[in-house]
């Protein structure tokens, strides 16, 4: 298995032929050596510890540039170039397995940045051995390496989804797939970036470790130190990123995927996030449970939106599902279900549980009376959620172009933001519940208007479906007419 994946992997070999030429193999250590020399030499006379700190900092920065920026770019382009240069179809008809292709693309395309990154890791590792808090620094090193692999995997995953969306397009632009994960990463580490300044300006020996001097994290009943928890979560999401890559590559290779792996991912995500409710002190067990359920519902709703926007939503897919239902071919129906529908079904099941519990507990008490945990509030939330999904599908069926999603996004922004701004400006905050899922609402000023909005969009969608779901002609009739 490992031999097939790494040693005799044709995609990996092809990338090695292209990326690791003798010239490039020599240039990289020479350039890096020169940078390290220029950076560290002036401090050598001052103190060797200062020099090591500088070398460590420089190695971190170069590693970031090589692996996170350049590596992510190459990783995206490895697949996008195949599509743009029309070699992807030739790859898809080979006997390479989805795993081989995933490994080949993920590590093959980034092999040169990783080659350079290895020198940085060596400098980082050696400098950490001579400096204080060695274990902490080694943990940070492991986290950085895992994060590098994760960002490559996520960008490749986005590209695979993008290819499926733009199957009929001649060219795919790599910028979004390259910049998207990088921006996310920056948002994640942004608040922590200040510690780099500390090191750089004050040559603070402990500067690099300041990230780890935060309080411990409680996850369910477990207490984790910050780096341990980050490593734990990175490992979980790295595994899921690989599973996601494998499943998407299977789809590219025309294999069918069932819904259960995606359901397992959703459950993992919900369980992972629900663990953080343990940080809220002084709740009863049932409250923790409810908080976890509500958090999971929120995650489910967000994932429904993300997947609904990311996946193709053309009439053919819907007609195929309708055909499966008509023929009662449930096996095929499961295979053809888009991820956003699976997410919707799972999340809707959660909604039913929460709604039922709240209905039994609080009857039809208004949100204003008992706070956010009111059945009415969750009903409003469902209406908003359904309205948005219906609108997204309606625009896609109507427009049937790649811009349909952008149009739907603009409509949604207008629906949510414009009334909110206007009402806030005019001082009519009470009417906000008609346009936003705020919990200061009543039946008249909240539930009914939202229900009407949903029913109106649903009516439009069903009319559009009736027209579009007819068997399309093949043009012959038009020509003979």
């Amino acid at each position: 298995m490992l031999k097939e994946l790494f040693i005799s992997n044709p995609e990996l070999k092809r990338n090695i032929w292209l990326e690791l030429t003798p010239g490039r193999l020599i240039i990289m250590p020479l350039v890096l050596g020169a940078i390290f020399f220029v950076a560290g030499y002036p401090y050598l006379a001052e103190s060797y510890l200062t020099c090591l700190i500088i070398l460590r900092l420089v190695s971190v920065l170069i590693f970031g540039g090589l692996v996170f920026v350049w590596g992510t770019k190459l990783c995206c382009e490895s697949l996008i170039d195949e599509v743009n240069q029309r070699t992807w179809d030739s790859q898809r008809v080979t006997s390479s397995s989805p795993w081989e292709m995933v490994i080949g693309k993920l590590f093959g395309s980034t092999i040169y940045p990783w080659y350079g990154g290895m020198f940085c890791i060596a400098v980082w590792f050696v400098s950490s051995l001579y400096l204080f808090k060695t274990v902490t620094h080694i943990k940070l090193l492991v986290i950085t390496i895992c994060a590098g692999v994760l960002i490559h995997a996520v960008s490749l995953l986005l590209v695979l989804i993008g290819i499926r969306r733009g199957r009929d397009r001649k060219k795919i632009n790599s910028s979004f797939y390259f910049l998207g994960p990088l921006i996310l990463l920056l948002l994640f580490i942004g608040p922590k970036a200040k510690y780099f300044d500390n090191i750089y300006h004050s040559i603070n020996l402990y500067g690099l470790s300041s990230i780890f001097q935060e309080s411990e994290i409680t996850w369910y009943m477990f207490e984790f130190s910050y780096p341990d928890f980050v490593m734990f979560m990175l490992l979980i999401f790295l595994i899921w990123a690989f599973v996601g890559l494998y499943r998407n590559m299977r789809t590219e290779f025309q294999f069918s995927n069932g819904p259960w792996v995606w359901v397992s991912f959703l459950m993992t995500l919900m369980i992972c996030c629900s663990g953080f409710t343990a940080n809220i002190r002084g709740l009863k067990f049932t409250d923790y449970l409810m908080a976890g359920l509500c958090l999971s519902l929120g995650i489910g709703i967000v994932i429904t939106y993300i997947t609904a926007f990311c996946e193709p939503k053309n009439i053919v897919g819907f007609r195929l599902l309708a055909d499966n239902i008509r023929k009662r071919d449930w096996r095929e129906f499961q295979r053809n279900l888009p991820l956003w529908m699976i997410t919707f079904i799972v999340t809707f099941a959660l909604w039913v549980i929460i709604f039922t519990v709240l209905l039994v507990k609080n009857k039809t008490a208004l949100p204003e009376e008992i706070g956010v945990l009111s059945a009415i509030y969750f009903f409003n939330l469902l209406c908003f959620w359904l309205r948005d999904l219906c609108l997204l599908i309606y625009v896609n069926l109507k427009k049937a172009s790649v811009r349909a999603d952008i149009a739907a996004l603009i409509y949604l922004l207008i629906f949510y933001l414009l009334p909110a701004i206007l009402l806030s400006e005019s001082g009519n905050d009470a009417l906000l519940a008609v346009f936003l899922p705020v919990f200061r609402s009543s039946l008249i000023n909240g539930t009914l208007p939202v229900l009407v909005q949903f029913l109106f969009i649903f009516l439009l969608l069903s009319r559009c479906w009736r027209i579009k779901s007819r068997i399309p002609d093949n043009g012959a009739e038009n020509k003979t007419a």
Binding site: K13, D89, V93, F255, N474, G475, A476
Partner: protein, 309 residues
């Protein structure tokens, strides 16, 4: 009785794009060892059909099997049996010819020790020996086409699907390509070739599949039917009884008379053709010219197109 072995069996294939049915209930069978020309106007669904056959795109409905293997259930197994050359194919310009072929040989899971021999024999077959170590980016259009075909057949597949393989080639390269297809066919390969250049298909195609508006045109044109001959006779004076005289032979159809020229479709063999000429001479018809024109794929295609219109 000889049992016909089918390489491809397509049943009620349906493929849809949003708002358009690209393939509508397409059914056909392709014999093993045959060369089939897939022809039709632009937008008829040729590329879509080939992509469905190559298990590169999932149809809306229907069933496709290659040597009895369902391509929807076992796409990888089918890929091992086939090679596919897309219409706008791409090559890895930074690799050499040898590296390109070696890469595809590895990707097609050829035994490691067999790869160098296979690559060399293929390069010889493709007449690219002198380009062996050359970068793909430096190859001419014709050579690139040959390399792409080489990549598609590196694993010695039984079936080759070629989408517009001769487009953009000069006459010399096109002729060499036809020779290559004939050679592959002699080796027992089954070929499906989509092309616009109909007169070239005639050089190697034994069967023809006409697609129009996503449907197979209901007409069987095959190697046998190429033998249907069209005879053109020029005479000095046309006697009134000529139609009756020709029809009496029993092998004449579609007699058309224009000025001093008679055109007819003749279904008989060589001996009966001789008898036809003899009967004309005996009836003192002043035959000035008598020539036989085999009906080409192009003639048949255009005729079919005319009938459809």
């Amino acid at each position: 009785m000889q049992r016909i072995c089918f390489m491809i069996n397509v049943e009620n294939l349906i493929y849809e794009y949003p708002g358009k049915r690209a393939l509508a209930d397409v059914s056909f069978k392709i014999k093993s060892g045959s060369v089939t020309a897939l022809v039709g106007p632009n937008g008829a669904g040729k590329t879509t059909l080939l992509k469905c056959l190559a298990a590169l795109t999932k149809p809306f409905g229907g069933r496709i099997s290659v040597r009895g293997v369902d391509i929807l259930k076992e796409p990888r197994k089918c890929h091992q049996m086939m090679g596919f050359l897309p219409d706008f194919f791409g090559l890895y310009d930074s690799l050499t010819v040898r590296q390109s072929l070696t890469y595809f040989a590895m990707a097609q899971k050829l035994e490691k020790k067999r790869i160098p021999d296979r690559v060399e024999s293929l390069v010889e077959k493709l007449d690219m020996k002198d380009k062996f170590r050359e970068k793909v980016g430096n190859l001419s259009r014709g050579m690139r086409q040959r390399l792409a075909i080489g990549q598609a057949m590196i694993h010695d597949p039984e079936l080759l699907l070629l989408d517009e393989p001769a487009s953009g080639l000069d006459p010399e390269s096109r002729n060499a390509l036809s020779e290559l297809f004939l050679e592959l066919n002699r080796d027992g390969k089954t070929l499906i070739v989509s092309s616009h250049i109909l007169y070239e298909l005639e050089q190697y195609a034994g069967d023809i599949l006409i697609l129009r508006d996503g449907r197979i045109v209901d007409r069987d044109i095959s190697a046998g039917s190429f033998e249907a001959r069209r005879i053109r006779i020029r005479v000095l004076n046309i006697p009134d009884s000529i139609t009756g005289l020709l029809e009496k032979t029993g092998h004449v159809e579609n007699v058309r008379i224009h000025d001093s020229e008679i055109t007819l479709d003749f279904t008989g063999d060589g001996k009966e053709q001789h008898d036809l000429l003899k009967s004309l001479m005996n009836a003192n018809v002043t035959v000035k010219e008598f020539y036989v024109k085999k009906q080409s794929i192009q003639d048949q295609y255009l005729e079919t197109a005319e009938l459809r219109a």
